[in-house]
């Protein structure tokens, strides 16, 4: 060991050998390319061009929880321009003829999607086979014009899927800059909204590349032999937590209500794990119209529509929750020791005077003296005014915020809104420091005023009530199905715990149970004989028009399997419109999807 490889002459000899090998390999390599292969390269450099043909990977299919297809692909053709093969005056004219476009549009598309001289620049997508047959038969008349096969997204349109799936479209310059990822280039299709956006990396796959040799006359000679073809890697399929059958029921039930009510939102969640079973925004938007460049007139129609179809109401629509958040007020009163469950507060005579203002109850006839259970059952405003006043603005906001309001739920689609929990800091900013009345808390206590929520936040809150205070993050991705066929399950993530003890949660749930099951409950019309429903109606005051109607409920009361929250804009009382809608959805789920109850049904049918 000591002598071997250690003396200087050995090192010099070794270094000399390595250097000679290195120089020889350089000279040998250059000799091989410049002398032996010179004719091949000379032909390539003089006559031919090499075109880089991207191979679009198949985008992953999106399934529902039972592997029914929500979004898949259909083949279509894309016509592209190859800048290096263009002929002055001919190419643009022929492109205009072929695609029936004006020269401005062609030029705009060409410059927007330009990647490189030798790479086809997509001009128009979603074309039929007729265009391709023209190019195939008379290719020499269309120099610099080529086509490729691409898959175009096809969405199930009957299920308001745009709410959660979103759509894909051509990447914008800002998106290219933001991603800094080499996989994206001008003209790429990218998820723009919803699941398509959040899981774009999983769904998109990896683009492949082919190198094609083109003669000086523009004819394809064949694959360039100097560089291997790189095959495309298809994207992974995914399975969502959505149940298509339930989603269909949600959509059809919404359309069964009076057609004057165009707008609203429905959210259905499994409270045991946060899996979103149904999510719909009304009026629906057809995601298929976004697959290519959207014609300006269609886009203008959407943007100017007074029903705002672009607003994703379940996650971005902000509404006062009305009476549905009275459990926050009750829970805060219990936790802070201001009330007990059996304590009777001052009598409701259809309203009550606080300071020098008279605050009305929704029931002009009054409710008399009530305890917490019956106040929830009959949704007595006067009871909750009193509790709200005892709790105070900031403590009340603290409980609202810890119940998941005023901040995003973290659902796995973009565009969620925070909502507003009107703390004293917020009110100081809105009205000026201390220029607001402490009595504003009375409004918040019954879910009115500055307090706004999204339908998803409300559903999440009731998931917590139904699940003994434990809230799982609402999510849509259930499984990633790779090419090896092994699905990777997404584990539910515990998000937070409601700030109420289990004893107090039991009291709140008992009160909400009476809303449907009690003798004078506001939603007693929703009672079913096979199972119990627990829930709460709500009527959100709307300064711009008729009140919004809310109903949020879970079932079965003893072992909750589903929470459904529904909002119908401008439809008045919660018990009139929203409650029957939720009732239908829950009943469908219980009888068709929850095993124990399906069996019961079969038995009843048999007898």
């Amino acid at each position: 060991m000591q002598s071997f490889g250690n003396d200087k002459s050995f090192r010099v000899r070794l270094a000399a050998i390595l250097l000679i090998i290195a120089f020889s390999s350089l000279i040998g390599g250059l000799f091989y390319h410049q002398v032996i292969l010179r004719n091949k390269y000379t032909i390539l450099s003089e006559n031919n061009r090499i075109r880089i043909q991207p191979i679009t990977p198949k985008r992953g299919v999106i399934y529902d929880r039972n592997y029914q297809v929500i979004a898949d692909n259909k083949l279509s053709f894309t016509v592209s321009l190859v800048p290096s093969e263009m002929q002055n005056g001919v190419t643009i004219k022929q492109m205009m003829n072929l695609l029936d476009m004006d020269s401005v549009t062609v030029a705009r598309r060409a410059s927007a999607n330009f990647i490189g001289n030798y790479i086809p620049t997509p001009i128009k997508r979603g074309l039929g086979v007729e265009v391709v047959s023209i190019l195939e038969e008379q290719g020499e008349r269309y120099p610099g014009i080529t086509y490729s096969i691409e898959s175009v997204r096809r969405y199930d349109t009957a299920i308001a899927a745009e709410t959660f799936i979103g759509y894909i479209g051509e990447i914008s310059p800002d998106e290219i800059k933001a991603s800094a990822d080499k996989e994206y280039r001008p003209g790429s299709l990218i998820g723009k909204k919803g699941i398509e956006k959040t899981y774009d990396q999983i769904l998109r796959g990896i683009e492949g590349t082919e190198f094609i040799e083109i003669s000086a006359q523009g004819q394809i000679i064949g694959r360039y032999s100097g560089k291997e073809k790189i095959p495309a890697v298809p994207g992974d399929d995914i399975s969502l937590t959505i149940d298509i059958d339930l989603q269909k029921k949600i959509v059809s039930s919404f359309h069964e209500i009076d057609s004057q009510f165009c707008c609203g939102a429905v959210v259905a969640i499994d409270p045991r794990n946060g899996e979103i079973l149904g999510l719909a925004s009304f009026p629906e938007l057809d995601p298929n119209i976004f697959s290519g460049p959207i014609p300006t007139d269609i886009w203008d129609n959407i943007v100017n529509d007074i029903t705002h179809p672009l607003l994703n109401r379940p996650i971005a629509g902000l509404y006062p929750p009305g009476s549905t958040t009275k459990p926050i007020t009750g829970g805060a009163g219990l936790e802070l020791g201001k009330v007990t469950d059996r304590l009777l507060l001052r009598s409701c005579l259809g309203g009550m005077k606080f300071g020098n203002r008279y605050f009305r109850c929704w029931e002009p006839g009054g409710h008399g003296r009530l305890d917490l259970y019956h106040a929830l059952e009959q949704s007595c405003d006067v009871y909750f005014y009193q509790v709200g006043q005892l709790v105070g603005v900031d403590p009340w906001c603290e409980y609202a915020s810890r119940s998941g309001f005023g901040k995003k739920t973290g659902i796995d689609i973009p565009g969620e809104f925070d909502g507003i929990v009107p703390t004293s800091g917020y009110l100081n900013r809105a009205y000026g420091a201390n220029k607001w009345s402490k009595l504003l808390v009375l409004n918040f206590a019954i879910g009115q005023g500055e307090f706004t929520v999204t339908p998803l936040q409300l559903a999440q809150f009731y998931c917590g009530l139904a699940n003994n205070g434990v809230v799982f993050r609402p999510h849509l991705l259930r499984e990633i199905i790779g090419h090896d066929g092994n699905p990777v399950k997404i584990e539910p993530v515990q998000s937070f715990h409601l700030p109420y003890s289990s004893e107090h949660l039991r009291m709140l749930n008992e009160g909400l149970f009476l809303v449907v099951q009690g003798g004078s409950g506001t939603a007693r019309g929703r009672r079913k004989k096979d199972y119990h429903i627990t829930g709460k109606t709500g009527t959100a005051q709307n300064p711009h028009g008729k009140n919004h109607s809310w109903f949020v409920a879970y079932a079965p009361s003893e072992d909750p399997r589903i929470v459904v929250a529904a909002l119908v804009e401008n439809s008045g009382h919660g018990s009139d419109v929203a409650a029957p809608l939720v009732g239908k959805v829950i009943d469908y789920y219980m009888t068709e999807k929850v095993e124990g109850f399906m069996k019961n049904k079969a038995v009843t049918d048999g007898t």
């Binding site: 250097l19 120089f23 390269y41 450099s45 990647i115 800094a180 560089k227």
Partner: protein, 405 residues
Amino acid sequence: MLEYRHINWRLAAAALGLSIIGIFLIYSSQYNAQTGSSMDYYYRQIIWLILAMAAFAFIIHIPLRMIDFFSYLFYIGAFILLLLVLMIGNSKYGAARWFSFGPINLTPSDVAKLALLAALSRFLAYSKLPPESFGRLIISALLTIVPVILILKQPDLGTSMVFMALLLSLWFWSGLSTLYLLLIISPILSLLAAFHWITWIIYLIVLISVILIIRPKVFIGFYALLSNLAFGIITPYVWNSLADYQKLRILTFLDPGRDPRRAGYQIIQSKIAVGSGGIFGKGYLEGSQSQLKFLPERHTDFIFSVLGEEFGFLGTLIVISIFAYIIYRGVVIALRCRSKFASNLAWGAITILFFQFFVNVGMTFGLTPVTGLPLPFLSYGGTSMILSWSLIGFLILADYNWMEY
């Protein structure tokens, strides 16, 4: 006082010859046949050459002992520059690699090459620790790894490779046994062997028997065994757990030629350019029009392709011969220097020049990966030019002082 007749002018002449060839090639690479003129890169390169020769003149006039004395200070200064460029540097293609002062770009990683060369030369020359000792190896490795990490953050794989090559080469030159060197780089072999478990097991058996036969120091033996096991077992595991697009991103980082739309396309076009040059080339200003117009890096990283296309095999042979001459002179200088520091300095200087030359030329026909390393003396760029001439300055200075201890 410096005696000019004892200076190795032939070495400087070789460098000047390469630099002038470079300027002509840069002119050609940006030449526009329609207007009959070239963009002003060549003009700026002439100014860079003058500045580089001024730096060279400065270096050969300072005493070698001074370089020796200030090498650690120089190293610390370069380290601060590298930190600064990460924080406030300008970026191109998302990588922060240089500072801009008006039209001048300062690339700290080139400064760091000189600083590391001086610092390593000094440490390895004066350290009393034996070549195979743990302390000597770990300190010199740390000296190298700190700037490498900063440069990898930029991220610049090619330059980081220059630093690693410099360390290994100086270890080799300053007396580390070849077998130890092989053991030190063995984890890379383990990585290659690990793509099939049978080859990896065979490799591991060979490695263990080598360790048992040559009986190296305990820490080297353990290092070799553990690092090989780690690379062989953990890497495939981590690799398989990555998503496809993550794998692709890593592979493209290691070998940019895999990315078909960028470097991959450049390789194809560079091969066609070089190959179509044939034996005698297409002639000056004749090649750039047909093939190289699209190569964005043709005046920097792919300058050798311009040479290959316009001057053919004969042209490339001449440039390679000049490089071979510089390397040969450098080895002779490193051999005859009596002072260990001067010898290390000369050996390190030719290591940097040779490594960049080899990787850059090999890249033009697909032998080596596209790493963004410039060709010394020929590629467009100020700091690269000054670096290359400074290295020639080190060589001449070492040669001039060869008798000193």
